[in-house]
Symmetry: C2
Subunit: 202 residues, 2 copies
């Protein structure tokens, strides 16, 4: 329901207008912020007009919500994959923690928007997004708790706080990570996952 109204375009043209609009909006939102980006700017940059945008999307906010949906679905799916793997819990947590870093860096525009503009959503959509985020948080927390119960992680720190601790660093990536910096996404991920696992050593 939250997905784009099929671009149809029978034969298979160059680039569906709806997707071009979403990609353009994502870039502009990340660069200038949601409120600072006008609908006119988006359609100009995408080479269409408002008529096209409002043909595919119900509102400007729908564009934002669409970005959120994409990120959430992607991250949740990947987390589930790693958490369900057949490996010791410390390995599963390490893999999941590192993966979310890589995925975040690879979609840095989306995640910048995600964390900066969350509070721009209408109460209704905000509630939905929060619910999905909570599911994600809880899945991650379950990994930490499992390790604490089996004794491979230190138990004298609340699991919730540990999760927020790690996601703080993930959240923060958009602020400091530069593509032309000295570290590859995978290197950053390995370092951050390493720090987390060491912080959890009993």
């Amino acid at each position: 329901m939250a997905s784009i109204k099929e671009g149809a375009s029978g034969g298979g043209a160059a680039k569906p207008v709806a997707q071009r609009l979403l990609a353009t909006a994502t870039r502009l939102f990340a660069e200038q912020g949601y409120d600072r980006t006008s609908v006119q700017e988006i359609v100009d940059a995408a080479g269409v007009t408002k008529g096209a945008l409002y043909h595919y999307f119900g509102s400007k906010e729908d564009l934002l919500h669409e970005v959120y949906g994409r990120v959430l679905r992607l991250q949740q799916e990947r987390l589930d994959r790693f958490a369900d793997a057949d490996a010791p819990v410390e390995q599963r947590l390490r893999d999941a923690a590192a993966d979310v870093v890589v995925t975040t860096i690879e979609n840095l525009d989306d995640t910048k928007i995600f964390f900066r503009s969350m509070h721009h959503l209408s109460p209704e959509k905000d509630k939905q997004v929060r619910a999905e985020r909570r599911r994600y948080h809880e899945r991650f927390r379950a990994l930490v708790e499992e390790g604490q119960h089996t004794g491979v992680f230190s138990a004298d720190v609340p699991a919730d706080l540990v999760v927020d601790y790690h996601f703080g660093s993930v959240h923060h990536l958009g602020t400091w990570y530069r593509e032309d910096g000295p570290l590859s996404p995978q290197q950053v991920a390995d370092h951050l996952a390493g720090l987390l696992l060491r912080a959890l050593r009993p």
Copy 2:
């Protein structure tokens, strides 16, 4: 130059208008975001009119910049105090790391604004704020490096990344910390500083 045009008010009235405006703006910016808060709202909530606001501040952006200046000065001063203390480096880092958490929670409105609205500043002011943040970052990094050189901290993770790691969690506080939650500011600070120090164990 970046400070408020003296409220004068010779004798010492109830509450200087300039400070009331700044406090009101801070609250509203934190609640609704900078762009979503109109100047009219601010002056209404402060019980004055636009004439008063533009008498004391050059622009809406000046209000934001003023909030930034306050936070930056406060945090820098406190960091310097802890970093200069006469104690082993692991103790100084722990104290500094915990203190910034407590200070952040105690000024959660300011820091929410700080991290959310940074990119709303004009290039000129943005440059200035960045420079001050960098000084702060470097002071903190020096502590990590000192410990790495003297061997009390593991050296196989870049010091810059460690600093961003910790400040990620600080940055993130505004997202999850609730006053009516189970943890006091000091408890959160102790946990986060503990995690950092354990992550750095050789």
